[in-house]
Symmetry: C2
Subunit: 423 residues, 2 copies
C-alpha cells in the first residue's frame, strides 16, 4: 500500500485556486477562458516536470502520460475537469485532476513499478457554463464512439443536437480555435489505447459527512428523468377581475408543485430525490394574473420501476384542471442508471479497506464525465466528503486530509488495476 | 337629452386603431412613439376642424377646448390616454379620448348651448410601458398641485421618486424633447382654469357583461396594497442532496402562495381581489434547489379594515418557516380608496337613467389618471362594458353600441355639470 502526500495535495489545491479566484473564497473558471488556460498550462508544466508526455485532442482534452514497463500495454487514465460554474468552489472537477496528478507524482517520487502507462487528464467544458450542455467534451468523444443503436436510444444526444453542440462553430468552436488547445483527433481517449478510467470527485452531498466517512466508493450514477409542467390560463387585470372567474397559471403551478411533493413523498422511497429548480412566468407583471407558467422537475433514483412510478404521478398532472388552468407535461430527457465496472469498484473498495480510509458504498446523483466514458471503457468513481454537502458555490469545501485520502484510494486502486487486469 | 352618433364613434374607433396596428387585432402604441404622435396629430386635426382651441402643456398633455357662452367660466374637462401596453387593444385609454371627442363633435353638430368651455384631453404616458411608472403625466401635474402634507402621506410619491421619474432626462425627458409635444407649463390642468373632470374608460372586468349592463357609473377606485414575500433557503445539487435536509425556496413560496389563497378566501369577502402576478427564482436552474424566491401580492378592496385584515395574513407569513426556509415580507406601496365626487357621480347616474342606458354602480379596481386628478378637481368616471373582461391584450373589445352609450352618458352628465354647477 502507498500513501499520497498531504503536504503536496494541500499545496496543489491552494495553487490552482488562484486561477479564476473571485476574491471571496471561490472561483469563476469557464471552459477555455484565460483562467482555464492558466490552469491547463500549470497542469502541463507540472506533469512535464515529472516526465509525463503531453497530448491534446481536437476538443482540447489534455492527457499527461507516464510510460509503464510494457510498451504495448494500454493506458490507465484518471481525470476530471478544471472548468467551473460562475462563483463556483475550489473542488468540483479540479480535485479529480489534482488527485490524478498526485497519483503520478507519488508514483514518480516513490519509484512505484507499473506495467501500464498511467495518464492524468483534463476533460474540457464539463460544466457547460458558457457552452451548453454540460459534459460536452466527454459527450463528443463518446458520441463518436457509441454504436448507432445506442446513440439512437440515448436521450442526451437529442439534447446536444437541440443545442447545436456539434456545429457550434460560432461559440465553443471559436473559443477552441482561439485557445491554442485544439489538438489532434487521433489523441482522443479510445478503447484502442486505454484500458480503463477512474474519476475522483467531491460528493456534492452530505451523506459521507453525516456518516463520518472520508471517501465514498461509487457503484452507479442514478437514473433520472426531467419533465416540464406547463400551465395555461388567462391573463386579466389584477384590480378588475373577480376571483371566481380567474384562471391563474401561477396559482395552478403552485398547487401542482405542492401536490407533487405530497404524492411523491407518499411513495416512501428514502433514496429518491426530486427538484423543481426552474420556473418561468408570463407576463410576470404584478398587476396581471399570469396566463402561462411552467416549471421543471428533475427526478433521480437507482431503480427504473421507482422512476416509472414517479413519472406516472407527474404525468397525471396533465389530467387535472388546476385553478381553472389546463396542464401539459413534457418529458425533456431521461437516462437509465449507469453501473460502474464491478471489478474497478472492487479495487477501489479494497484499496480503501487496505489503506484504512473510512469509506462506504454510495450512489452518484450527479452526472459526471465518467458516465459518458463508461460507454467506452470500464469506469469507476470515488467521492471525497463535501462539507455541508455544498457545491457549485464558493462555500464548497473538502478538507486536505479527505482529499489526500481520496487520492490514496485512487492510487492503490490504479495499482491494483495495473497489476491484475488482463489487458 | 342628447344622443351621440353610433356611426361617428364606430369610424373613430376604426380610424385610431390604425396607429400602432400590430396586424393581428391589437396595437402597440407606446407614449411619445411615432404611433402615439400620429394619434395625437389626428386628435388635433379633428378637434381643430370643429373649432376647438389646442393647447399643450410641458409634459405633452394635449387639451382641445370649445369656448362656452361665459368667457369667465371654468372649463369642464373629459379625457384619458392614447398610449398602450405592448400588444394591447383598441379600447383601453383611447376610448376615453374618442368619447370626449364625440361629446365635442355632438355639441358642435347639434348646436348645444353650454356656458362653460368644454375640453377634450389626452394624458401622456398613462401605461408607463417605456417610461415607468404608470399614470406619469397626471402624477406629475397633481404632484405639483398637492399640498405638502398630502404628498408626504401619498405612497405613489415614493414609487415615483424611486423610479427617478421627475429627473429622467435621459429617457422620458429625451422622448419629450424629440416629440415636438413639449408645451407650456402654464397650460397644465389646474383648479384656476378647470372646474371638474370626467374620464370614460373600459371596465377591464366582466361585471357589466355578466349583469347585462352597457355602462358602469364608478363610485370609487379601490384601496390597495402591494407586498413582496421573499423566501431564503440553500441551493444544493438536485442529484446529491437528500430531501429531508433541503431548504427549497420555490417549494416554500408555493406553499405560502397556496396558504394565502386558503386563508384570504376564508375571510369570505366577495368583492376582494388579490393577485400574485410576479415571481423571481434564483438560481433558476433545473439541477439546483432554489435558494431565493420572491413573489408579489396585490390586494384591492374598498374597505380599509378589510385590507388591514388581509395585510395581517400576508405579514404572518414571515413568522413561519416554509419548507425549511425563512420568509420576509415587505410592503411596497399602498393607497386608500379614492371616492369620486358625489355630485358628478349623481349626474352620470341621472344621465344614464334619462337616456335609458342599462347601467349600474361599480367600483374601479384599476388605477386611472382620474385618480390623480381627484386630488385637484371634482372628478368622476364612467365605464363601458368589456367583452369577457379582457384588457391589456389584443382580444380586448367593447361593442360600438356600448361605446356610444358611454359617450351619450358622458355628454349628458357634462351638460348637467354645465347647467347646474356653481362655478
Amino acid at each position: 500500500m502507498y500513501t499520497c502526500s498531504l503536504e503536496r495535495m494541500t499545496e496543489k489545491i491552494k495553487s490552482f485556486s488562484r486561477f479564476g479566484d473571485t476574491g471571496h473564497g471561490g472561483i469563476t473558471r469557464y471552459a477555455l477562458s484565460p483562467e482555464d488556460i492558466r490552469a491547463r498550462n500549470e497542469f502541463i508544466r507540472r506533469m512535464k516536470a515529472i516526465g509525463a508526455i503531453i497530448e491534446i485532442d481536437d476538443v482540447a482534452n489534455v492527457y499527461a502520460t507516464l510510460p509503464g514497463t510494457d510498451p504495448s500495454a494500454k493506458r490507465i487514465v484518471m481525470g476530471s475537469h478544471v472548468d467551473s460554474v460562475k462563483n463556483g468552489g475550489n473542488y468540483d472537477g479540479i480535485l479529480g485532476v489534482l488527485a490524478a496528478m498526485e497519483v503520478l507524482e507519488t508514483v514518480v517520487e516513490q519509484n512505484i513499478d507499473h506495467v501500464h502507462p498511467l495518464t492524468a487528464m483534463i476533460w474540457t467544458n464539463e460544466e457547460g457554463s458558457l457552452y451548453p450542455p454540460a459534459m460536452m467534451a466527454s459527450g463528443i468523444v463518446c458520441y463518436d464512439f457509441l454504436p448507432e443503436d445506442v446513440r439512437r436510444n440515448f436521450r442526451y444526444d437529442d439534447m446536444m443536437a437541440s443545442n447545436n453542440v456539434l456545429n457550434r462553430e460560432d461559440t465553443f468552436g471559436k473559443a477552441l480555435d482561439a485557445s491554442g488547445f485544439k489538438g489532434d483527433r487521433a489523441n482522443r481517449l479510445s478503447p484502442d489505447a486505454y484500458s480503463c478510467m477512474f474519476e475522483l470527485h467531491i460528493e456534492q452531498g452530505p451523506i459521507l459527512e453525516d456518516a463520518g466517512n472520508h471517501v465514498g466508493v461509487v457503484d452507479c450514477v442514478l437514473g433520472m428523468f426531467n419533465c416540464r409542467l406547463r400551465f395555461y390560463g388567462q391573463t386579466v387585470h389584477a384590480g378588475t377581475f373577480p376571483m371566481p372567474k380567474r384562471q391563474d397559471a401561477l396559482f395552478a403551478a403552485s398547487q401542482a408543485l405542492c401536490s407533487l411533493h405530497e404524492k411523491i413523498d407518499a411513495l416512501g422511497y428514502e433514496d429518491l430525490v426530486y427538484t423543481t429548480g426552474e420556473i418561468a412566468c408570463h407576463p410576470n407583471v404584478h398587476t396581471c394574473v399570469p396566463d402561462e407558467v411552467d416549471f421543471s422537475i428533475d427526478v433521480r433514483h437507482e431503480r427504473a420501476d421507482v422512476l416509472e412510478k414517479v413519472l406516472g404521478i407527474v404525468a397525471d398532472c396533465a389530467d387535472k384542471t388546476w385553478a381553472g388552468c389546463t396542464c401539459r407535461v413534457e418529458t425533456m430527457w431521461n437516462r437509465n442508471t449507469v453501473y460502474w465496472d464491478k471489478t474497478l469498484v472492487r479495487y477501489l473498495k479494497e484499496a480503501a479497506e487496505e489503506t484504512g480510509v473510512k469509506h462506504q458504498i454510495l450512489h452518484s446523483g450527479a452526472g459526471h464525465d465518467a458516465q459518458f466514458v463508461s460507454y467506452m471503457l470500464p469506469t469507476a468513481m470515488v467521492f471525497v466528503q463535501s462539507k455541508d454537502g455544498l457545491s457549485h458555490c464558493e462555500r464548497e469545501y473538502s478538507s486536505p486530509q479527505h482529499c489526500t485520502s481520496g487520492a490514496t484510494v485512487l492510487l492503490n486502486a490504479v495499482l491494483k488495476a495495473d497489476a491484475k487486469r488482463n489487458m
